[in-house]
Each structure stands twice: as structure tokens, then as C-alpha cells.
């Protein structure tokens, strides 16, 4: 399969496109008020059908994360980043903590050891406040 710039067969392509755009907004790569790539630009980049790209954009637009400016294109809505980060915070436990805890349990790492490991990793990374 040709590299679709990281898209895979794991789920509907349009959903993956939406997720990546959302990720870009959350990371600050796409600032509020900035223009989002057009359907055709996304299709060319990912080498996918333009309709699929359009669907992905519409998912975010329907969610209020993108707003349409007639004749110009799609732009990141105000407050989009804030909302996305809040959402990810809410998912943080489920997405990252639970798997970590399960794996720790599997390996027989108790709570104290776990905290120690986290601290150590934080120092190595340089500046994670733990």
C-alpha cells in the first residue's frame, strides 16, 4: 500500500483525517483563525479521494472546531484548541493512564515503584513537573 502519509486500514479514512487535523490544532500547529488545508490539498497530500478528505473536514466543522468563510475556505474556530485540549484531558486517564496501569500490573510493578519510574523519566525528559 502506498504510504498515505501515515493513514492506515484501521478505520475509516475520513475519521483518521479528522483526527490528524484535530491533533494539529491541539498541538498548536494550526492556530486559531488560520486557514485549514483545502479538500484538494488534503486529498493530494494523503493521496486519497477528495470526497473522503471533505468528509473529514466536515466532521470537524460539524463539531464547531472549524468555521467556513464563504469563498475563502475553512478556518480554525476561536476556542477550538481550548476545547480539544479539554477533551484530551478528559480522555487522558482512559487513553494513557489505564494502559500504563494495566501494563504495570502485568509486570508486577507496585505503586511506589511506579511513581519512582515516573519521576525518573520526568527528569530525563527535562522539566516535567512531578
Amino acid at each position: 500500500m502506498p504510504e498515505m502519509a501515515g493513514l492506515d486500514e484501521g478505520g475509516p479514512l475520513f475519521a483518521q483525517v479528522a483526527e490528524r487535523l484535530a491533533g494539529e490544532i491541539a498541538d498548536g500547529g494550526l492556530a486559531e483563525g488560520e486557514r485549514v488545508p483545502s479538500t484538494n490539498e488534503l486529498a493530494a497530500f494523503y493521496r486519497i479521494n477528495p470526497a473522503t478528505a471533505a468528509k473529514g473536514i466536515n466532521v470537524l466543522a460539524d463539531d464547531g472546531l472549524l468555521e467556513k468563510r464563504r469563498g475563502i475556505g475553512m478556518f480554525v474556530a476561536t476556542g477550538a484548541r481550548r476545547r480539544l485540549l479539554a477533551r484530551r484531558r478528559a480522555e487522558f486517564t482512559e487513553r494513557y493512564l489505564s494502559p500504563m496501569l494495566s501494563e504495570a500490573a502485568r509486570l508486577g510493578i507496585d505503586a511506589d515503584e511506579l511513581f519512582a519510574l515516573i519521576k525518573e523519566a520526568g527528569h530525563e525528559r527535562g522539566g516535567v513537573p512531578v
Binding site: M1, P2, P50, S98
Partner: protein
């Protein structure tokens, strides 16, 4: 969806075999549909009938509401690129000139640019072209025609992977600027999978799958790991295939996998791998149990 191509109960019989058996399918305007299936499944026959080059034994075919055979108003807006196209004793330039007279939306600049992309010289006789160059010529005609209905029948014979990617890229780019109804038959499914909005799978003359491509992605997953964990995870899920080796098992299961599922699988030490479109089509084509199941679950 505005149907552009409507096929109902289409059957094509030859003396010793049935090439198409009661095929019914609808293709909407402005979409790219993959026509998939094994060699000899009936894809070429279907495309030839759609282009009016072959006749049905029974059933009806309508394009823009009219039967295509011998119908100039339909054929003017249609182009079929065939892998096995025969040309008269002409050269590439003549072929393109003739095509420009017959296709109202013909774009000469695009045609020249495509010939350059594929490295085909315009004054070469078609009969002296290599297989790949002939395919390139066919693709050039198919794309530059900008026909409202564009049919490709495995148009990449003799083209290497790089040239095929050029084809997919040019197709997508021109389709984005000039939307049309595209039907692309191929047996190299994974390469082209991202192009398709819809897929129609034909096996032994019958339609076994007709659905949106995105609906298929992630639909079927291989779950592998320790036997007990696998069985626990897949309990209550339809299973297509189950293989074991010692304490390990690998099961093919149907149904979308959610985030919670993924997390649960990871906690159980399981590996989840979604089936690619190509693998799905392979199953739909030969694996009757799987095909039947897919058909009932995903028909659009």
C-alpha cells in the same frame, strides 16, 4: 445520490460459460468506485457492456438514463480504457488527435503533459510501443478526455510501480479539479484503495459486495495472542476464521474495534491487526461464509 450508471439484472452468457449473472449495481455521479475481483470474475465484461462494446444477453443497462450501446449521446460522454485495446496502423499523435475530435472536453495540454510523464513519444507507431507505453497511451486518452463517465479496465499492464503511482496521482488531481464518475477495475487493490469512495466486488459473474469503502475499513480484524485471551476477547463477536498453534491463537473477527476494545486487547496482551481492503476482497471473493456475512452486514 444521482445514479449515473444503473445496471439491473444484467446477464451475459457465452456458449460455454456465464460471464455475468444477474448483476445489479448503481453508480452515483461524481464518485470513484473500485470494481474489484479476481481475474476472470466478469469485470471486463461488465465494463465492455457499459461502454456499448459488448451486448447483454438479458437485463438492462442505463447510463444517463439511456442504454449505451449504439447511442451517440451517451458514448460522447463516456470513455473506456482497456488493457487489451487494439489500435489500427497509426501513431500516438494520430490516436490523440482522433480522440480530441470525439471527446468534447478533451484537453490537449493535459494529454501532452501525461505523455511526458510516462515518457511516450508522440510520433511513435502504436504497434511499436511497449506494453507499458500502450497502457500509458490508454491512460492519457482516458484522463485527457475528461469524460463524464470514465471507465478504466486494469489500465496498468506493463507499468511499473512508479508509473502506476503517477497514474493514481494524476487521476486524483484531475478528478479533484474536474469531478466525474470513475469506475476503476483493478486486482492491485491495496495500491488504489485510498482512491475509492465505493467498492463493488465481483466474483464468478456475481456481485458479492457493493458498499462504501470507508465502511469496510477496520471492519474485520485479526486478533492474535494467547488462546484463552483471544477467546475471551472475541466472545460474542462473529468469527470468520480461527487458527491455533500451541498456546497461541489467531482469530479473524468482524465488527469495528473501539478505543475501549483496543485498550482491553492491550491489557490482555493481544495484538490487533485490521484486514486491508485487499485482504477483505480476497475473502469476499472466495470465502462464501465470510462473503455472505459481509454482504448482509455492510450492503449500502
Amino acid at each position: 445520490m444521482t445514479p449515473v450508471i444503473s445496471v439491473t439484472g444484467l446477464t451475459r452468457r457465452y456458449r460455454d460459460q456465464v460471464a455475468l449473472d444477474d448483476v445489479s449495481v448503481t453508480i452515483g455521479a461524481g464518485s470513484i468506485t473500485g470494481l474489484l475481483g479476481r481475474n476472470g470474475a466478469g469485470k471486463t465484461t461488465l465494463l465492455r457492456i457499459l461502454a456499448g462494446q459488448e451486448f447483454p444477453s438479458s437485463g438492462s443497462v442505463r447510463i444517463f438514463g439511456l442504454p449505451p450501446a449504439e447511442n451517440e449521446s451517451v458514448l460522447r460522454r463516456l470513455v473506456l480504457v482497456r488493457e487489451d485495446q487494439t489500435y489500427p496502423d497509426i501513431n500516438v499523435r494520430h490516436a490523440l488527435r482522433a480522440a480530441s475530435w470525439f471527446h468534447p472536453n478533451w484537453d490537449s495540454a493535459l494529454a501532452s503533459s501525461l505523455l511526458d510523464d510516462f515518457g511516450v513519444r508522440a510520433n511513435k507507431a502504436v504497434k511499436n510501443l511497449s506494453r507499458g507505453q500502450r497502457s500509458a497511451l490508454g491512460i492519457t486518452i482516458g484522463l485527457a478526455a475528461r469524460a463524464a463517465v470514465t471507465l478504466f479496465d486494469e489500465p496498468y499492464a506493463g507499468l511499473d510501480a512508479v508509473a502506476r503511482q503517477i497514474f493514481y496521482d494524476r487521476l486524483l488531481a484531475d478528478y479533484a479539479d474536474f469531478p466525474r464518475t470513475v469506475l476503476l477495475s483493478t486486482h492491485l487493490i491495496d495500491e488504489a484503495a485510498a482512491l475509492f469512495e465505493n467498492v463493488v466486488v465481483i466474483d464468478r459473474g456475481r456481485v458479492v459486495l457493493d458498499t462504501a469503502a470507508d465502511g469496510l475499513r477496520g471492519m474485520v480484524t485479526t486478533v492474535s495472542g494467547p488462546v484463552l485471551a483471544v477467546d475471551s476477547f472475541t466472545e460474542g463477536r462473529p468469527v470468520w476464521e480461527r487458527r491455533t498453534l500451541g498456546s497461541q491463537a489467531s482469530v479473524v473477527t468482524v465488527g469495528q474495534v473501539s478505543c475501549e476494545d483496543r485498550e482491553r486487547a492491550r491489557s490482555l496482551g493481544l495484538d490487533l491487526t485490521p484486514l486491508s481492503l485487499q485482504q477483505l476482497v480476497v475473502r469476499a471473493s472466495g470465502w462464501s461464509a465470510g462473503a455472505g456475512y459481509l454482504a448482509t452486514r455492510t450492503s449500502a
